[in-house]
Symmetry: C2
Subunit: 380 residues, 2 copies
């Protein structure tokens, strides 16, 4: 591909209006110029991750979306429920670029050595606005892929790989020795299984359907429990006794599941016997909610003693606690294992305009297991 840089670039934008409407469109803007420590990337591939949907869709009702304009330059509007508008106040009237990560070729760079070193390389990168044809990114947020690795294989090299590694790092930092993961058959969940199998970390996978269990069995997962089963509580408790897991990462958020995990961890702790304590076991049990597949309230029955915690977990602040060395160690592992441990699979490839197709939107908004979209911004 020629490395000529066009004067303008197209970029997907998400706008929330004061009257409660989401408006998605493709803006044409001047192609930005990289500063000293920055590079200009021609974005060849960018995934739609669950963590992109909050900014992209702004909790709008996608079933009520309508589209206008030409097929290659559509404008999509959809109504936003009133109860969601409170949390969106700060972005009203501001068209926002979308996309947390992607991969592509560095076609220009600023004066700094680390930026110049990337010219001509295919890089995976993190940085807002990856649903763009061309994007300026700080050089330190780029991972140069191995020679010959295409951009499509590096598009998801930040969010899911670092989240999976971050969960295991958090486990170690907080003194746990095994993990529980919900929505466990997701792309991320499969990566986490491969990381845990590689590192010898026992992992309890919680799924909601038999097909999801089958996906995980296929890749060698040892502990799989189905929350839709009548024997879920017993199955989970047994898996927790077997693994000793006292830390869970929950992608679902709403409903009873987070509390059920804490209850089963407490039952597992008490199954070891020991003296009665009116305050429950002294084993600290922790659930981190990192997603919101169920946006309803979280309900905790608190039948799990006093040694427990639940909280939000977010990748970026966690990475901030690692320091530069820790961060580089994780990134090197991602580059080394990009086509094995951290391989992503996509069911759909779309252009920028294709990402605003109403059928496509309805599909990726559902966040169904196995379905994953890749945007190819520089596709015709």
């Amino acid at each position: 591909m020629p490395n000529e840089v066009p004067p303008t670039t197209r970029q997907l934008r998400s706008l929330v209006t004061a009257d409660g409407t989401l408006e998605l469109s493709i803006a044409t803007v001047d192609t930005p110029t990289p500063g000293p420590g920055e590079v200009l990337v021609r974005v060849e591939a960018a995934p739609i991750n669950p963590s992109d949907l909050g900014l992209l869709l702004a909790m709008a009702d996608v079933r009520g979306a309508t589209s206008s304009g030409p097929a290659d330059d559509p404008v999509v509007t959809a109504p936003i429920p009133d109860r969601a508008m409170k949390g969106l106040a700060a972005r009203i009237g501001e068209p926002m670029p979308v996309g947390n990560e992607g991969a592509g070729t560095v076609v220009a760079a600023g004066a700094n050595d680390d930026a110049q070193a990337l010219v001509g390389r295919v890089v995976g990168f993190a940085g807002g606005g990856s649903y763009s044809e061309y994007l300026v990114v700080p050089a330190f947020l780029c991972m140069a892929l191995r020679e010959g690795t295409p951009a499509t294989k590096g598009a998801s090299c930040f969010v899911n790989p670092l989240t999976a590694l971050g969960m295991v790092e958090t486990m170690r930092a907080e003194g746990h020795t095994a993990l529980v993961h919900t929505a466990a058959a997701s792309n991320l969940g499969q990566m986490l299984n491969r990381v845990c199998l590689g590192d010898g970390v026992p992992l309890v996978n919680i799924v909601r359907r038999d097909e999801q269990a089958a996906i995980l069995r296929e890749i060698g997962a040892e502990h799989i429990v189905d929350s839709s089963s009548l024997t879920f509580t017993d199955d989970l408790t047994e898996a927790l006794i077997a693994t000793g897991a006292t830390l869970a990462f929950d992608a679902i958020g709403g409903g009873a599941l987070a509390g059920q995990i804490l209850s089963a961890m407490e039952a597992a702790a008490n199954a070891k016997g020991g003296e009665y304590s009116r305050y429950g076991s002294d084993v600290h049990k922790q659930v981190y909610i990192y997603g919101g597949l169920d946006r309803g309230p979280t309900e905790l029955t608190r039948d799990f003693g006093m040694a427990w915690g639940i909280g939000g977990w977010l990748l970026t602040p966690f990475l901030g606690t690692l320091g530069l060395d820790g961060m580089l160690r994780l990134r090197q592992r991602v580059v080394d294992e990009l086509e094995t441990t951290f391989a992503s699979h996509y069911t759909d490839e779309v252009s920028l305009a294709g990402a605003l197709d109403l059928d496509a939107m309805a599909t990726y908004a559902r966040q169904a297991t196995g379905q994953k979209f890749l945007i190819r911004p520089t596709l015709a």
Copy 2:
């Protein structure tokens, strides 16, 4: 009072039977002999704290209690709801001594110097089974009161004072600068107000009734919000903006309150302005549940971003994190300020048998603000 030690001692016991009945009685047992580092205390005063009720009443339905036997040696039975029995399995058939703290005169001591040094002193102590006439306690769990301080003034020198101080210590250790407290007009809540006023720590008091607000205004509390008010959310947010509090201690546990506090903290953080983030503010907001006035489920709406945590908080493990020096520093402050900051007031004084009077039980089981019982085990 003579220091002759009788050969037997009476002790309140709580028994859960396999058929789901609570049985409270007064056992007569051999008076124990202190080991080398222990002392024998004639217990002259012991409070009934909310934290004693779990062990004492075992979630039984006190309204269904019946009493038999003579007035000075009653046996009380009450039914325990089925759903509560699961958590009580480990104590079935085991008559348990009750009472977390008390005060009295050291009438005998083991050979060690620190134990011997306490002979004849009036001490406050922590240690299970304080609802006894005589009790053996490790010397290091005794605080010698100033000469002339009666046992009634030292009876509550561990649980509430160290909990109030522990909350402020936790705040500092976790990087917060102000506190929120619920059920704030309690005996503990009043102590916490005096500690915070003394230390210049801003404190937001959440109460449920006007009378409770009045109690706190009386002792100089600055920020008082009433959760039964129609303007509660706004009032709380305003107080959080004024104080910058990002840590709450919640005695209630069930219902929406813990989540409402997190939501208001998030609103207060966002009121400062700043850039929109789809993940909410980056201010960490924390609620610790340390009591269970409402035993129903905790419901979290999660409209407070991703930087949040909620968890159990328990005094004893917290004290374990302080180390010996920290612990001694806190204890010295309690002794120094026992009749000011840490003064407790009791509405009822009862004998061991009087604590099993059905009317008395109905009263203290309600945990009404302002009502506090003191057991005088060595009263006739």
